[in-house]
Symmetry: C6
Subunit: 76 residues, 6 copies
Amino acid sequence: MTDTWLPTLITATPQEGFELAIALSRRGVKYTQPDMETLQELRPEYANSADGLTAASQVIAINFQTVSAANKYWRG
Amino acid sequence: MTDTWLPTLITATPQEGFELAIALSRRGVKYTQPDMETLQELRPEYANSADGLTAASQVIAINFQTVSAANKYWRG
Amino acid sequence: MTDTWLPTLITATPQEGFELAIALSRRGVKYTQPDMETLQELRPEYANSADGLTAASQVIAINFQTVSAANKYWRG
Amino acid sequence: MTDTWLPTLITATPQEGFELAIALSRRGVKYTQPDMETLQELRPEYANSADGLTAASQVIAINFQTVSAANKYWRG
Amino acid sequence: MTDTWLPTLITATPQEGFELAIALSRRGVKYTQPDMETLQELRPEYANSADGLTAASQVIAINFQTVSAANKYWRG
Amino acid sequence: MTDTWLPTLITATPQEGFELAIALSRRGVKYTQPDMETLQELRPEYANSADGLTAASQVIAINFQTVSAANKYWRG
């Protein structure tokens, strides 16, 4: 992937930071399986599974730790 | 999701911080599966499973690390 | 839950901190499944399973990181 | 458990710190399942399973993060 | 492995840092299973599995925490 | 285990730090299952399993966080 998709970890608000954490989690998947068609086919496998959704939420939580620290927790 | 649901990570007490950690964990799930009906159907799958509940508690624990650090552990 | 169960993360000793980490881990479960009867029924599922016990110990470890940092590791 | 088993997180060496991390991981299990006979019976379930051993090593790694930070990494 | 593959954790941008996190995640696998042919054979097992992809993304997220801290989050 | 195997967390380079993280991950396994023959028998179970390799890589990633912090990320 040669395009720029992550110029900074800084966001204006915690909510945008959470959304960046989601984007990072998806990128981790896409780097491992770049074929979009395969990814689409796998979607029901986790989006309709309680375990799969909890696991997805955990990766987001880990990335949100990173983004929050980068933004010094938006303490203002 | 265009509404504001996370204006700040700062809470008055550790307990409110823990509840925010729960909210973050649920948001991670909702961003991945926005369909509320599907989420309702999946609820028994983890809420009645020991593994599912431990996994849910783990995501909360990770998010509580973030919220606690943001609040400097409410050391007062 | 409207009662106050987490007024502070500060404890007198590391051992009390570890016990608080256990309490936090259980709270994460209870917020997800508030029905005490269901929780009692699920207990054998993890308390008699090696995987379940390791998973429980992991959640405690994550919460103990938070409590330890809050207490500056009881360095005295 | 009313005996004192964790008076401090400080150890003389990284290796003792690693052994404390192991002790913490086992305590997490024992608090969840205090019956020693059951624990003995479950031992083969994880000690003879690759997944179980990796999971055990992960809990140790998480607790070792805590102990290492407490000891400022024994930088001397 | 005697070649130098990790001279530094410092990268110019967050995106390069994320790519380094991916490289670290793969190295962790290669050190455990150095046989490239076996690794190739196992690829479909996780790259075509929702759980496998989420797990891979989680390891990347953990390594990205390390790389981000090393780079002081590229705060500039 | 009475021999000294972890005198320090300090390494000269990030790569040596990564290798120390691998050593710590293996030690966590060996403390749990000290019988080398059993460990040898279990090896194919994870080294030929995608899930097992990802899990191994995750433990390494967690230990690498510790070693990297100990070395202040080799910022030089």
